[in-house]
Assembly symmetry: C2
Homo-oligomer: 201 residues x 2
Amino acid sequence: MATTMGRRERKKAQTRRALSNAALRLFSEHGYDGVTVAQIADEADVSIATLFAHVPDGKEALIFDDGAERHVWLVAAIRDRPSGQSVLEALRRCLASRGPFTEDLPPDLRRKRDLIVGTPALREYSRKLWIAGEGALAAAIAAESGRDPADMTVRALARYVLEIPELAGTEADPLAAMNAIFDLLESGWPTSPMDARRDPT
Amino acid sequence: MATTMGRRERKKAQTRRALSNAALRLFSEHGYDGVTVAQIADEADVSIATLFAHVPDGKEALIFDDGAERHVWLVAAIRDRPSGQSVLEALRRCLASRGPFTEDLPPDLRRKRDLIVGTPALREYSRKLWIAGEGALAAAIAAESGRDPADMTVRALARYVLEIPELAGTEADPLAAMNAIFDLLESGWPTSPMDARRDPT
DNA sequence: CTAAGAAACTATAATCACTATAGTTTCAGA
DNA sequence: TCTGAAACTATAGTGATTATAGTTTCTTAG
């Protein structure tokens, strides 16, 4: 194996990057629906067939990294949390520093995030990628809480945590929104104050 | 206005029903991906253009009722709940009696439900329809709890409740799974037992 | 009763994402 | 250096969805 990994794989990564860049540039300029995959392939100087060989999930996947490294952060955040910190607290802090919740980003990443948040198709695909990590996250949570990873409670918590970016991402203050949701997940929905609240006509 | 609503609208509803029936029959027989919209249009004896005039959301929408009457049940369940019953309890009971959670269904509805649960595209679209009611459900919850309908906590709860069918629908015992999730939403994730659970190497 | 006019419908053609095929070039490794 | 796999290409096709332009069918105001 060569210095990095052989010329072949280097070239492959290069065309993949060319596709990402072309797609991001064109999407930013003309909007997601205003660009055809043919134009993107052209801009990246590859054939359409090659484009789809690189992005089997289709047009939306073009500007996302292939890897499943999204939930790796979250799993690591749980496993490496400081002593005495709850699982949810670890997840809260981890999410707060990534994705749509931090304001200090390089302008290119900011533009990319805005594009995703502002384009339904991309937002949905982003959610799909997140949700794909549900099993891994559930396993991590189960490991720390001594439950079965297939326990529906664990799976539901994992799912609900992973939904947070899409849910809070469009709010005026995404960070505050995220914290509100975590509070809900930690404490549950307050049942008492409204139990008797029925207005008889 | 005539007896029911004029021959025109009656015929319109008739073709819509013909499309639904054709789609359901063909999907059941050959699977969702094994049927083209052209075949469905043929079976219903209309043109493809007419098919799409009736189902603007596309192929997946064919077997679903157009109406937004899904969440109406939930909103009504909240508003009409017996005195002293919490909002979540009302939602729990309402969901338990509908959708994938009840076992005694006429065989045709059962087949339809199995088709939806077993077809990713249909499951996703079903979720989309549910989620579309998020605003209405949030409004109902807010009205009963004296909060702002735009409060992120309210929106999150609404969203999480609406996700339950997709989340619990594929479980071995959907009803038990649903109850577990409601318990989580009511009580929150138990933080205490695992706070100190850190294994120092 | 009748004449607009709207609504539903039709055939046709086009666009676009995506797949399949078969062949070519290029790298990796024995 | 030879061989096979991987990446790439052009080409053609499928299938969903939309646009266009025109036809039939109900509705309803006059």
